[in-house]
């Protein structure tokens, strides 16, 4: 009887385990992907899922999904999933790999995602030789958004944005990402494969698995570019779209291995693990032990309506920003709400520079100080620029020999001293900012000495300068006391 001689059949190619059993994207259709009939994504998904199964890495795989048709990878792959902003998949994959060095990270990107908006991210990830696997699905068009030209669109190819066909003069040439990235020293493996016929599909399956294997072996950056059909946007039946990959696309994008350093590549040393959050204060030198004692957030007695608005202005190098920073830091230490907003040109020294500081008992609504209660003008141009803005009843501290007449105001109080000269006498003209700050503190009287002292030590650090700055602060305070005594 035939039944006795019949043999059992066993499954050799079935649904990979790396896929979810059901896709919970929608209430119905949980057994299907959302891809159009004949879409290359489904084929590539299957290759990837199979490779994950075969390498036994499902429980440590992190798949970074892009923006594009394949945005829903997280509905299909039963692995760790991250959905990245458009083009940023390889940067996100870098972060995932660095944070979890034992994981296998796959960046799955389309051609619009990788070669247009994400061209910088992929270039640098490849150049760093990150130990990640990139699957680059190239269908020469922006499909999800309805068929706009991509950098990869072929010359002559029609799209909604190149209705007459892409022309090199106006839209440039098709971007060959694999060739481009292969010129870098970072990648270990770059291959372009296609989905144009059976032979190409078999080769693509091998390449995808190899790109994953390289990562498992710790070799470094691998990228597989897959020429993939988009029957819907190309307006071709699925089988013809497949042929178009082989007969047309492949002419512009020849298949092959563009870079293979897997033989000579040694496993990359794993980057040192990132420090824990609790270690960061110590690393930055702002933990309790490294910080000099200050008032440490003990609320000082101040008026409930305290709202000190300070504008400090001068030329770059006068310590304008540091003056404001010490003031804000001391305010923070004293339990006040503070803001410090620097405003300066691209030059570090020379040029003009100013900062806005607010100290308040209330939440600071805006860090901008357009009408200061105290203006510290470290030079004449700054005074000219800002003297009009001071609130009536406020103060102007001017670093100069004599106050210019044309800047006179009857409704504000003015103190004119050569802070820079005074600092020079103390040892270094650069401490002129601290002389001015000392004067400001004495006038306003809102901050306790220990908060100023703590802030100074935290921000200046160098003991030599701290000593000089403290003398400068004391001198500034004395200046005010002397001038009041004069009155």
């Amino acid at each position: 009887m035939p039944s006795e001689t019949m043999c059992e059949y066993e499954v050799v190619h079935g649904r990979p385990k790396a896929f979810y059993e059901r896709f919970e994207r929608k209430e119905d259709l949980q057994h299907q992907t959302h891809y159009c009939p004949g879409c290359g994504h489904g084929i590539i998904h299957k290759m990837l899922a199979r490779a994950i199964d075969e390498l036994g890495i499902q429980d440590k795989t992190i798949l970074v999904g892009p923006v594009g048709c394949s945005v829903f990878t997280y509905y299909y792959f039963d692995v760790g999933n991250i959905q990245a902003a458009h083009g940023r998949a390889s940067a996100v994959a870098t972060a995932a790999k660095r944070a979890q060095p034992g994981s296998v990270v796959i960046s799955y990107q389309g051609d619009g995602d990788l070669s247009a908006i994400g061209s910088a991210e992929i270039l640098h990830a490849a150049n760093r030789g990150e130990n990640i696997t990139v699957i680059f699905v190239n269908n020469a068009i922006y499909s999800m958004t309805g068929g706009q030209a991509a950098p990869t669109t072929l010359l002559g190819q029609k799209s909604t944005t190149t209705p007459l066909g892409r022309h090199a003069v106006t839209e440039g040439y098709p971007l060959h990402m694999s060739e481009l990235l292969a010129t870098l020293q970072g990648p270990v493996y770059i291959e372009r494969v296609g989905l144009g016929d059976n032979k190409q599909i078999v080769q693509a399956t091998r390449a995808v698995k190899r790109a994953l294997e390289n990562q498992v072996r710790g070799l470094g950056f691998s990228l597989v570019e897959v020429l993939s059909p988009c029957p819907t946007i190309w307006k071709l039946p699925p089988v013809e779209a497949q042929r178009w990959v082989r007969d047309v696309m492949e002419k512009t994008y020849p298949l092959g291995v563009f870079c293979d350093r897997t033989k000579e590549a040694a496993p990359r040393p794993e980057p040192a693990p990132a420090p824990g959050l609790d270690e960061i204060p110590r690393i930055l030198g702002v933990d309790d032990e490294s910080l000099p004692a200050g008032n440490a957030h003990r609320m000082v007695e101040t008026a409930a309506n305290l709202d000190l608005r300070v504008r400090v202005a001068g030329f770059g190098g006068q310590g304008v920003l540091l003056l404001g920073e010490v003031l804000a830091e001391a305010g923070l230490d004293a339990g006040l709400e503070v803001s410090w907003l620097p405003s300066y040109g691209p030059e570090i020294r020379s040029g003009t520079s100013n900062c806005h500081v607010r100290l308040s008992r209330q939440v600071v609504d805006s860090p901008l100080v357009t009408q200061p209660t105290v203006l510290v003008a470290m030079n004449e141009p700054s005074l000219h620029k800002f003297y009009r803005s001071v609130t009536p009843g406020g103060w102007i501290l001017y670093n100069g020999e004599s106050y210019p007449q044309e800047c006179g105001r009857k409704d504000v109080r003015v103190m004119t001293r050569q802070f820079t000269h005074i600092a020079d006498e103390l040892g270094d003209p650069r401490a002129g900012n601290m002389v001015a700050l000392g004067a400001l503190l004495e006038i306003t009287g809102v901050l306790p000495d220990e908060s100023i002292d703590g802030a100074l030590r935290r921000l200046v650090k160098n003991p030599k300068w701290v000593e000089l700055d403290e003398r400068a602060l004391a001198r500034g305070r004395a200046l005010v006391k002397e001038s009041l005594a004069e009155v």
Partner: protein, 98 residues
């Protein structure tokens, strides 16, 4: 030997509801053992079906199919003839008969 029905090396299972009728498997199948049916499935596609014979179990249709589980390919666990010889020889050195 001539009495024994020769079994195909492969078998196909196609999930009609998962199939989107793209026809890539029909094109890919080397012995042309897959066809598109005339009727429509619940999604309105003409699903692929196995013609019933000729499958070699090569699996190219599986790799060509964009849906995760629309196609399942099975293969003979061991050729029927070899199994019969095995049971009769019982420990004798098996030689390759094919």
């Amino acid at each position: 030997m001539s009495d024994i029905v020769k079994q195909d090396r492969g078998q196909l299972r196609i999930d009609e509801d998962e199939c989107k009728g793209c026809g890539l498997c029909v094109e890919a199948c080397p012995p042309k053992a897959i066809r598109l049916s005339e009727h429509l499935n619940h999604s309105g596609y003409r699903p692929a079906y196995y013609a019933g014979s000729g499958c070699t179990g090569c699996g190219i249709c599986f790799m060509t199919c964009p849906e995760p589980g629309a196609i399942t390919v099975l293969r003979l666990a061991r050729p029927a003839a070899a199994r019969q010889i095995d049971s009769k020889m019982q420990g004798a050195v098996a030689c390759a008969s094919n």
